[in-house]
């Protein structure tokens, strides 16, 4: 490589992210003059819409020329697809927060800007073509989320969540950085494409494997893969529900966006046992997430474990990048974003203003008292459980198909068996809503914004489930991915 390198700077590729940055700035400025965060929320939605429009135009444009900054920013098909996921997830979270931040007494002006900055980090992670950009994206993504987890200062659960998340997150980042250092040592570069080239040319394999392993471990932390998952249930339980709505989908999507890219580029060049180690981790994730979710009484915590379990399902796709796993991961995360954010949106209406009261008993008789809410939650949960014809099912088909074609039949079997467990715990909530009489007063809180979020997620879950083909076709352009 010549030095200094000729740069191919294309700011247009950053347009969706820049839209978020701009909106965040505007939000911060607004906060100086305006106490009502709803305006900020509205502006944020506008910004997200703008970002969406930019992203769409990039997506529909020639995705083949997506690389810029010397292959450090890859606005290719998967990245842009992940951007959609990020935007949609963020928008749903903003809608859920719209009325909730006031109700839960956590209406501080920096809320929405932080969410947007975090989403920006997610986009950077998805598009990162090197480990440094990845690290920066990761931090931009994470720092706001750490703080947002602790957003309800004074609420012990929220504090605890923030602190835990931060400490373990920083630990995870350190591991990732060290892995990056070793990988650099082995290949002389942080850019995936260069790493691949160097390793293909016969670099120190063990060192590279080690570096890649530690990088994967660091990302596995964000994605909540066993044994780096333990923060997730606690943080999801403790953090404010609207924040969980955001991070359960966007953080996970971003982590997997990075994971899948590394799995598709660097991982095949290092020692093959790393793949096996990842498979073991995925297997453990499936088991632990689903089993632990089974014994939860709180629905929020159950969903937290279920989120861990879903990391396992996406993990199946990550293991099979060459067999349709890439698009399967994107697709699955799209579906997951809709259904999981939807479920948390419903949950946010059930919990009280102290963000408590998510016991299964609270859902008893919801089918009678709040039929619409109950129906929506039923759809979300069944979709999470992989029941056709909802989005989660089509996602599972793709993910399992990819895993089987990559030779991970045993993992697919394990995944499906744990899915049975999953369906049992999802169905328990459905059963409470429909098979029991109300035991508590019906949750009285109503929010049009949250209803809109629920409706949108519902429509998405059903539509994507009934017509899964178009989105899958759209992201199958991934053959033209940069650095692959």
């Amino acid at each position: 490589m010549s030095f200094p390198p000729a740069l191919d700077i294309d700011w247009a590729h950053l347009a969706p992210a820049l839209a978020l940055l701009g909106t965040a700035t505007i939000g911060l400025l607004l906060a100086l003059f305006q106490r009502d965060s709803r305006l900020t929320a509205a502006v944020s939605l506008l910004g997200l819409a703008t970002s969406f429009a930019f992203n769409l135009s990039l997506f529909l444009g020639d995705a083949g020329s997506g690389a810029s900054f010397g292959l450090r920013y890859l606005a290719d098909v998967p990245a842009l697809a992940f951007n959609f996921v990020v935007i949609v997830g963020t928008a749903l979270a903003v809608l859920v927060s719209y009325d909730q931040v006031g109700r839960m007494e956590m209406d501080h002006p920096e809320y929405y800007p932080l969410v947007l900055l975090s989403a920006l980090g997610a986009m950077v992670m998805a598009a990162a073509g090197d480990l440094v950009t990845l690290l920066l994206g990761l931090e931009v993504l994470s720092l706001p989320v750490y703080v947002l987890s602790a957003w309800r200062t004074g609420a012990r659960q929220s504090e605890e969540a923030g602190m835990k998340y931060f400490l373990l997150g920083a630990f995870g980042s350190a591991i990732l950085v060290y892995g990056a250092a070793l990988l650099y040592g082995a290949s002389g570069s942080f850019v995936y494409a260069d790493v691949v080239a160097a390793l293909a040319g016969g670099g120190p394999l063990t060192l590279a494997t080690l570096g890649a392993a530690l990088v994967l471990a660091g990302l596995g932390f964000k994605a909540a893969l066993v044994p780096f998952h333990q923060w997730a249930p606690d943080v999801y339980t403790g953090a404010p529900t609207p924040v969980v709505t955001y991070m359960s989908v966007v953080v996970k999507a971003a982590a997997f966006a990075a994971l899948v890219r590394i799995a598709a580029t660097v991982a095949p060049e290092v020692a093959p046992w790393l793949q096996t180690a990842l498979a073991v981790s995925v297997a453990a994730t499936l088991l632990v997430g689903n089993l632990a979710a089974l014994v939860q009484r709180g629905v929020k915590r159950m969903l937290a474990y279920s989120a861990v379990a879903h990391a396992g399902y996406v993990g199946l796709a990550v293991l099979a990048p060459g067999h349709g796993g890439l698009e399967a991961a994107v697709w699955y995360l799209t579906a997951y974003t809709l259904m999981n954010a939807g479920a948390f949106a419903v949950l946010s209406l059930i919990v009280d203003r102290n963000d408590r009261g998510d016991d299964v008993e609270r859902f008893a008789g919801l089918g009678q008292t709040r039929p619409g809410l109950a129906l929506a939650l039923t759809v979300f949960l069944l979709s999470l459980g992989g029941i056709p014809p909802l989005a989660g099912f089509a996602g599972k088909v793709m993910v399992f198909q990819a895993a089987i074609e990559a030779g991970y039949l045993w993992l697919a079997l394990l995944g499906i068996l744990t899915s049975v467990v999953a369906l049992v715990y999802y169905f328990r909530v459905v059963a409470a809503m429909y098979f029991r009489r109300p035991e508590y007063e019906a949750p009285a809180f109503r929010s049009t914004a949250t209803d809109v979020a629920i409706a949108a997620a519902l429509a998405g879950t059903v539509l994507l489930g009934v017509l899964p083909g178009w989105w899958h076709d759209a992201i199958r352009g991934a053959q033209t991915v940069m650095g692959f």
Binding site: L135, E159, M163, F166, A170, S173, A174, Y184
Partner: protein
């Protein structure tokens, strides 16, 4: 004959390991955090060491490493800002930095 870069890497591994052990063994959140800083530094040391090593293939690779160290430093700084912020915010209510007190959400 200069010291092989890998010796520095080994040193960084030791520091990294110490940091990691500190994360596990220290009970005060701030000391946990301190240990994490040690780990980040270890990573930086490794990068710098390998940066010198990669001078063999010309300037690009070596300087890429040193640049990265600069950025990691910035990341560490940002983490410190946020971490200490959370720490302070929580300390207001808890009057302790003992991470073992942060175990109400479990199972």
């Amino acid at each position: 004959m200069s010291v092989p870069s890998e010796y520095f890497v080994a040193l960084s591994a030791v520091l990294f390991g110490l940091g990691a052990v500190g994360v596990v063994t220290r009970r005060s959140a701030i000391l946990v955090f301190l240990s994490i800083e040690l780990m980040l530094n270890a990573a930086n040391l490794a990068i710098v060491a390998y940066a010198r090593q990669w001078t063999v293939t010309g300037g690009g690779h070596a300087l890429e490493g040193q640049g990265a160290v600069f950025i990691v430093l910035a990341v560490a700084a940002a983490e410190v800002a946020v971490g200490l912020g959370i720490l302070v915010a929580i300390f207001r209510h808890r009057v302790t930095t003992d991470v073992d007190q942060l175990a109400e959400v479990r199972a």
